[in-house]
């Protein structure tokens, strides 16, 4: 506790604005060409380098002088997490883990290290661990809203929605703002309340305005909500706005690619997805790129992308990220080692009993002919009333496998009505089945 009090002192002549000294630099560097010269759409201008790298170097220098400096360790641990987000390089997770654990060993009640390890656990998809850490951080400071975010995020992924939503409501009542509005939006989306999700995410976007990547993030989220209900043009507009405020943002490039695919513009989709992969080669982006190549009749290029995924996933796993659910889904989708993938899906679902865990397991069961059991999990996956065309499609295929022709058509139609191009791989299959 003593150190925390010192921290506050440190703010001594401190200022409201203190903090953003370095952030200001980041912000400036993210500004593209003068407004009048900037194209209103598309990924233009230079990538914002971000100054987190410089911050990391500065902290490393300070730590060489004083290796046991808890505050510097805290800061470094968080900076590494930001670097991981910026570069997609998971080795930063390992570095963050080391720095924060060292901080915690020196100061067991440290709020920043505790919640920092919580957010790290979330990034690594270790949700039970994140829950424990979030609760520990809450015990240290019950009045700090972000601790409730760590707890709620973990509960969502553990499928404990009632408790998660209560936690988010507590957070939102305590501190309305970007973080809590975004979580309320996500919860409403899970509950199938699309207008409510959009309303809350718009509040988040207002709160994020002027904050570069955070603002862009909210636009991408609004675009993803549009995408989920088949409003591809609206989604593309949000994604372009994200790229306007934060050029070359990989998350926005990927979302824009999917919106373009929805609009039937595969060439544009390929271009944007390739740029997303160039920026950050996340397995999800690489898989979409492969699917786009496959859909446009270039199986050789598709295979190349698919082969890359295994490599990236091994790198993720080596740095503590759990990828079982994602690997299982990718393999099942692409017909790779189906029996082993079913076993993996079962394991992943135990680790992560969310509606996504249920859905991936249901789909793996269907692809391996266990359709009775698949139906059970598909029902669980749809239990919140989420509007999710892919889950509807999975359900339709399961019903079909069980010989329930009417139900099959109902669910496939429902999927296509919600989002006619819900998946590069599977929307054509749904249409074929309905013929």
């Amino acid at each position: 506790m003593r150190r925390q009090r010192w921290i506050l002192v440190a703010a001594a002549a401190g200022l409201t604005v203190v903090a953003v000294t370095l952030g200001g630099i980041l912000h400036e560097s993210s500004s593209p060409a003068p407004a009048a010269a900037a194209a209103p759409a598309g990924p233009v201008g230079q990538a914002p380098p971000g100054d987190t790298a410089a911050t990391v170097t500065q902290l490393q220098t300070k730590l060489r002088a004083n290796p046991n400096d808890v505050s510097a360790l805290d800061s470094l641990g968080l900076a590494y997490q930001q670097r991981a987000r910026e570069t997609g390089d998971p080795t930063y997770y390992t570095k963050s883990d080391e720095a924060l654990h060292k901080a915690l060993a020196l100061m067991p009640d440290d709020l920043i290290a505790t919640s920092g390890l919580g957010s790290l656990a979330l990034s690594r998809h270790r949700f039970r661990k994140a829950l424990v850490l979030g609760r520990r951080a809450r015990a240290i400071s019950p009045t700090t809203a972000r601790n409730y975010g760590v707890i709620g995020d973990a509960l969502v992924e553990l499928g404990r929605y009632h408790a998660a939503f209560k936690t988010f409501d507590t957070m939102a009542a305590m501190e309305p703002g970007l973080s809590s509005y975004a979580r309320v939006a996500h919860a409403r989306q899970l509950l199938g309340d699309v207008p409510g999700a959009i309303a809350a995410m718009r509040l988040a976007a207002d709160a994020a305005q002027g904050q570069g990547e955070a603002e862009a993030w909210t636009h991408v989220q609004l675009g993803l909500i549009d995408l989920s209900v088949g409003k591809y043009q609206a989604a593309a507009t949000q994604d372009r706005e994200a790229l306007y405020v934060f050029p070359e943002y990989a998350l926005a490039l990927d979302a824009l690619a999917r919106a373009e695919a929805g609009l039937g513009r595969d060439g544009q989709a390929l271009r944007y997805e390739q740029e997303a992969v160039n920026r950050i080669p996340l397995p999800q982006y690489v898989a979409t790129l492969g699917d786009l190549y496959a859909a446009t009749g270039r199986p050789g290029l598709a295979r190349k992308q698919y082969e890359l995924i295994g490599v990236i996933q091994r790198l993720l796993v080596a740095n503590g990220v759990k990828t079982d659910l994602e690997t299982a889904l990718f393999n099942v989708d692409h017909g790779i080692r189906l029996r082993a993938s079913l076993a993996l899906a079962r394991l992943a679902r135990r680790e992560r009993p969310s509606i996504d865990g249920d859905d991936v397991l249901a789909w793996a069961l269907e692809r391996t002919g266990h359709c009775g059991e698949a139906l059970r999990f598909s029902k669980r996956a749809l239990r919140l009333g989420t509007l999710d065309a892919l889950k509807y499609f999975h359900r339709g295929m399961i019903e079909g496998c069980l010989g329930h022709r009417t139900e099959q058509r109902v669910w496939l139609r429902r999927a296509l009505r919600l989002s006619p191009q819900f998946s590069i791989l599977w929307a054509p299959v749904a249409k074929r089945e309905l013929r």
């Binding site: 903090a19 980041l26 407004a35 997609g88 700090t144 309305p176 904050q211 955070a214 994602e326």
Partner: protein, 511 residues
């Protein structure tokens, strides 16, 4: 905690300074923003360590207007550290935030009246993301794609602090100026800004928009182990003395300014009023009872400001968010932090003894006299209750973080009032702590030119200066009463008339 005794003195010290960096980084991470999606589409990592600059109240000023001494001017600033080249979207107030300046005139810590500011942004051309599509030559120029207007509402509060009725709308559709983009987009900026100064019925003047950040401080040195460049030779880790550098030079902010007749604000029983500003956001629930998004609240206060630097200097990390949500009337719960201030301990630690080998050059100062680390009734007086006979509201001793302004103390034509009488001398940056004992300055209200960093450094070190010592019995230790960061004035001069704060730096000139 016993373990701390195991930590050697210097490492502790270093930990202190880096603690600042930890805080800084938290905010940087938020500003750099950026939660990207982990690759599971279901697990969208929403921001956790988020900042809220548009609802972040950075500073509050309140003074008897030097050019119209029958009025008080109150200025609340939001959005810290704006880079003038803040494109492509530039900065604006948040249409979904309730901005308020509230006044307690009977000393119970509860606001009696308040002015609410609500903003509305129009989009002229929804087909472009651009801020402007050509030069903006007037506040109604269609080239300005996203003009923002606002309303001002006078509200009253009951004794429990609850707003009574909807209030009285003093003005609506009031224009704001655009941000100062550059000579092509915003030529003749000063005339654009002047056109946004609006007089409302009842002789109330208002202005809301981008301005130069009037705050000045040497952050770079303070972040480096609480260093004060002029006092470098006396720091535990001595360096050669140097002059201070204003870290906020060239930065902008968004100001809400209102000038009100004093008679609107005070009661007969006391000429002193207590002021605080706040920003509130709408509370949302996942399952809204009526399924409808409310456009007007309910509101949750997310930041507040009375005296400068309280949340930064006095309130510990784990309580910072909580403090921002609380009402000033409930500030007694935080009194313990004022009574045993960490800043004073730091001052003792860093400057309490001459460094080994003595000062590294021939500076006139010396090691600080020992500062009391507990029982600091001087701080609770100036920061929580007001000084009796000076700026206490009536005879109330209620704890509340309010900026207390005695409206009976009138400035001279140039804003100074040494010794309480109008004078032709310029305002003393140290207010009543300074050599001219300027009673118009902080902690009696706060003028733009008041050097609150130096005033706070001295107050926390019990170096209140001769006048406050003689007149009100506050301690005056030497050389504690010489402390300062070496940044003594703003980078731009202030104006002598409303809206007083300097025009914003131009994006074209200050990238």
């Amino acid at each position: 905690m016993h373990a701390s005794s195991a930590i050697a003195r210097k490492p502790v010290l270093v930990a202190v300074a880096l603690g600042v960096i930890a805080l800084a980084l938290l905010l940087i991470l938020a500003r750099a923003g950026g939660p990207t999606n982990a690759f599971a589409s279901s697990h969208a990592e929403a921001p956790l360590i988020s900042q809220d600059p548009r609802a972040d109240n950075t500073d509050l000023y309140a003074f008897v207007s030097p050019d119209n001494t029958n009025t008080v001017t109150m200025i609340a600033n939001y959005i810290p550290l704006e880079s003038p080249a803040g494109g492509p979207n530039f900065y604006s107030f948040d249409d979904t935030v309730l901005y308020e300046i509230k006044v307690d005139n009977n000393g119970d810590g509860v606001p009696d009246l308040g002015y609410q500011f609500r903003f509305t942004t129009k989009t002229h051309n929804p087909d472009t993301f651009l801020y402007n599509t050509g030069p903006i030559t007037s506040l109604t120029d269609p080239n300005w794609n996203r003009p923002q207007t606002y309303s001002v509402t006078l509200v009253h509060f009951n004794q429990a602090g609850k707003q009574e009725g909807p209030g009285q709308v003093l003005g609506s559709d009031i224009p704001t100026p655009p941000d100062n983009v550059g000579p092509r987009s915003t030529p003749n900026y000063n005339s654009l800004a002047a056109a946004a100064v609006t007089t409302l019925p009842g002789n109330i003047k208002v202005f809301a928009g981008q301005r130069d950040d009037p705050f000045f401080v040497d952050l770079g040195s303070i972040f480096d182990l609480a260093g004060l460049r002029p006092f470098n030779p006396f720091h535990l880790i001595p360096l050669a003395a140097d002059s201070g550098r204003d870290a906020l030079a060239g930065k902008n902010v968004h100001s809400i300014e209102i000038q009100v007749p004093i008679s609107d604000l005070v009661t007969f029983s006391s000429p002193t009023i207590g002021i605080y500003a706040s920003a509130s956001r709408q509370k949302v629930r996942i399952l809204d009872e009526n399924g409808q998004e409310q456009s007007h609240g309910p509101w949750v206060q997310v930041s507040r400001l009375g005296n400068p630097l309280i949340n930064e200097v006095v309130i510990p990390l784990g309580d910072k968010d909580y403090w921002n949500r609380e009402a000033p009337a409930d500030d007694q719960q935080f009194e313990k932090y004022y009574n045993s201030p960490e800043v004073s301990k730091l001052e003792n630690l860093l400057y309490g003894a001459l460094p080994p080998g003595g000062p590294s050059n021939g500076h006139a100062g010396g090691a600080l006299q020992a500062i009391d680390e507990t029982g600091r009734s001087d701080l609770t007086t100036i920061l929580l209750t007001g000084v009796p006979g000076f700026n206490q509201i009536g005879s109330s001793t209620t704890d509340a973080d309010l900026l207390r302004l005695n409206t009976a103390i009138k400035p001279g034509a140039n804003g100074a009032c040494p010794g309480g009488t109008a004078s032709s001398a310029p305002p003393d940056r140290l207010g009543p702590l300074g050599p001219s004992a300027d009673l118009c300055g902080y902690p009696n209200g706060r003028r733009l030119s008041d050097d609150v960093v130096d005033i706070d450094l001295r107050a926390f070190a019990q170096g209140y200066g001769t006048f406050l010592h003689t007149a009100f019995g506050l301690p005056n230790k030497t050389p504690n009463n010489l402390l300062g960061d070496g940044v003594n004035q703003n980078d731009l001069p202030f104006s002598g008339s409303f809206p007083y704060v300097a025009p914003p730096h131009q994006g074209y000139e200050v990238p």
